[in-house]
């Protein structure tokens, strides 16, 4: 029941073409050639179109920092930070097949770790005043990763929805902990300042001479997301990633391929929580302030939605899903303006604010109904269409 993966078809088409080409070229001239062609085939962006497309997308992303308004940049920066968390959830859920609703908890652990490390030592909440992002970001990831290792034994005992709901329990228990530990978190209903982002003297939360605060955040998050995405992609195609996929598809057979199941699941949880912790630290460093009830069920669900809407199991799917879910409210806040006969009066029913929420729900439902394989599925569809064109089959 936990077959989430639709992404295994990734890169099939493109890679196949090159594989045969590489071998054909390699055979006559013997091994050295062959060596080189495997290396080429195993390269991440192994075809010209792939390289060109990735290049264009990345350049555009950087270019946006000069083209968009600060407010849009802020939203996109958040989306990128969320994408890091989605990449993490994708590792445990999309890749290793362990559905976790506990992501919000690990995000919280990361956010509080970073906030505590960089917080004001004289403030009303715990703080050590180390604002360098190179210190608090890895620390946030590590502490969350350790929390993941502590939770992992559950995953080795439980399966499917049992695991999902137990990790949901983790969120509730974590929320309780965050509420109660007000020295760290500022307490329920109040909250605390989040991590202070500073890197080599650049303060991200302040407008600078060259770049505004939002531009700086945008660029930072973009770079970090690309780094994390590259890591996730590499992981997926490595020995570890293959072992995760094996555990997901058939855990008993995986064991007889010499894969140590408890270890694989623990590593998956650790890595995924590491991503979550970093994501949590970054998200709230953009917002500047956060409160314990942030790390509730809703946040976990949003992450699951990102991974599923993107198309479970793929890196680009997770990123697309994160962008979709983070940008969706911005979209639904705009849409009601185009719906006639709907009241802007808050006391009327229906009103635009209700419509916003309804649209949010309906878009998610409609989207999955239309394309259950997610955004990635749509992409595959488009690609297949052009490949097969002009023949239908």
């Amino acid at each position: 029941m936990t077959t989430l993966s639709t992404g295994s078809t990734s890169s099939t088409g493109a890679a196949r073409g090159t594989a045969t080409r590489a071998r054909r070229g390699g055979r006559p001239s013997g091994r050295p050639q062959l060596y080189r062609s495997y290396a080429q085939e195993l390269a991440l962006f192994n075809t010209r179109p792939k390289r060109i497309w990735v290049g264009i997308i990345v350049l555009t992303a950087f270019g946006l920092s000069q083209m968009l308004t600060d407010n849009h940049l802020n939203t996109l920066a958040l989306a990128y930070a969320f994408a890091i968390g989605a990449l993490g959830l994708n590792i445990i859920t999309g890749l290793a097949g362990q559905v976790s609703l506990g992501h919000a908890f690990f995000l919280g652990v990361g956010a509080y770790t970073a906030a505590a490390i960089s917080g004001d030592p004289d403030g009303r909440t715990i703080g050590f005043g180390i604002t360098n992002i190179l210190v608090w970001l890895p620390a946030a990831g590590l502490v969350a990763g350790i929390a993941g290792v502590v939770v992992a034994p559950l995953a080795t005992r439980l399966r499917g929805l049992y695991l999902a709901i137990v990790t949901l329990g983790l969120v509730f228990i974590g929320e309780h902990l965050f509420r109660e530990w007000s020295d760290l978190t500022g307490g329920a209903g109040v909250g605390r300042e989040s991590a202070v982002p500073e890197l080599f003297g650049i303060e991200f939360a302040r407008d600078g001479d060259l770049l505004t605060s939002d531009q700086k955040f945008y660029l930072l998050m973009l770079v970090l997301m690309l780094v994390f995405a590259l890591g996730a992609r590499n992981l997926a195609r490595s020995r570890t990633g293959r072992a995760f996929a094996a555990v997901r598809d058939r855990d008993m057979a995986a064991e007889m391929m010499a894969i140590n199941l408890p270890r694989a699941k623990t590593v998956a949880f650790a890595i995924s929580s590491f991503y979550a912790g970093c994501s949590g630290a970054l998200i709230y460093s953009i917002i500047g302030f956060f409160e314990p009830s942030t790390f509730g069920l809703l946040l976990s669900v949003q992450f699951i939605a990102m991974v599923l809407i993107g198309g479970a199991g793929t890196v680009s799917g997770a990123i697309m899903g994160a962008l979709f879910i983070t940008l969706l409210p911005t979209l639904t806040r705009e849409l009601p303006a185009y719906v006639p006969f709907i009241s802007g009066q808050v006391t009327d029913t229906p009103n635009v604010f209700q419509l916003e929420q309804v649209l949010y729900g309906l878009l998610i439902v409609g989207f999955l109904l239309f394309e259950p394989r997610g955004l990635f599925g749509i992409w595959i569809r488009i690609r297949n269409y052009w490949k097969g064109w002009p023949f239908s089959y």
Partner: protein, 262 residues
């Protein structure tokens, strides 16, 4: 009569799995359907029992009729109610239900005679009777196959479509299944038998079809098929001019050794 005419089936809007297939399963007869892996046998069965939909498949041309009424737009459970029953490839027992519970689900459309039918199935497959309370998922492969066939018999179908029923069965059990099929047929049920074990299938069938890549390439009475040279060579392993099967040790070693000895 259950028939397909010029049936064309497409999966996922792109994979053309059947390319104009026509077959007939007359009442009271056993029809064998042979063909290599991927020829489209299972697809044909799915088309006959309305299961294409859940595999993203679609009948794009041609039609399926039961006693002259088209049924290719009918829902699977209706088709079952009309007496056409398929035993899915790969057993597909409800692994978490008990043996007897599986059989009872099989009787979903024929509750009235459930007790009798249970006895009949237990008589055919005594192992199942011994283990009626056991969880089906823990049965051995062969036992699960028996359960799948038994489950289909629980509703006394008019047409029984068996997809590779002897897969993974011991020789004696294959014989057993052959007898069971014959007996079911004697009871008035027409059988469409999809088999890799061509010897067994043709030994009891009245008529046979051979499929290759989505087409029917041979369509002859079973006896005639048994004499067909191609069938003898490719499906029965009997080569012209040789008497009997040759040993697997003697199969050609072409291609081997190219890079392996390294």
């Amino acid at each position: 009569m259950l028939s397909a005419r010029n049936l064309e089936v497409v999966y996922d809007d792109v994979v053309l799995a059947l390319r104009g297939v026509s077959i007939d399963v007359p009442e009271d007869k056993i029809v064998a359907l042979l063909g290599s892996n991927g020829a489209g046998k299972t697809t044909l069965l799915r088309a006959l029992t309305g299961l294409l939909d859940i595999h993203d498949g679609e009948v794009t041309k041609g039609r399926v009729t039961l006693d002259e009424t088209p049924i290719h737009r009918t829902s699977p459970e209706r088709i079952v109610r009309q007496g056409v029953r398929q035993v899915l490839e790969g057993r597909r027992v409800f692994v978490e239900l008990g043996v007897e519970e599986n059989l009872k689900v099989g009787a979903h459309t024929a509750r009235a005679r459930m007790a009798d039918n249970l006895e009949r199935v237990y008589a055919l497959f005594p192992v199942l009777g011994d283990r009626r309370a056991a969880t089906a998922g823990y049965l051995s492969g062969g036992e699960q196959q028996m359960l799948a066939i038994g489950r289909a018999m629980m509703s006394e179908p008019r047409y029984l479509l068996l997809d590779e029923p002897t897969l993974g069965l011991a020789p004696r059990m294959v014989e057993n299944i052959r007898d069971v099929v014959l007996e079911i047929n004697k009871g008035g049920t027409a059988v469409l038998l999809v088999e890799q074990n061509a010897t067994m299938a043709l030994s009891i069938a009245d008529h046979g079809y051979v499929m290759e890549t989505g087409r029917v390439v041979l369509d002859k009475p079973a006896a005639a098929l048994l004499r067909d040279d191609d069938v003898r060579e490719f499906y029965l392993g009997l080569h012209p001019g040789e008497d009997g099967r040759k040993s697997f040790r003697d199969t050609k070693h072409y291609r081997r050794k190219k890079r392996w000895s390294a």
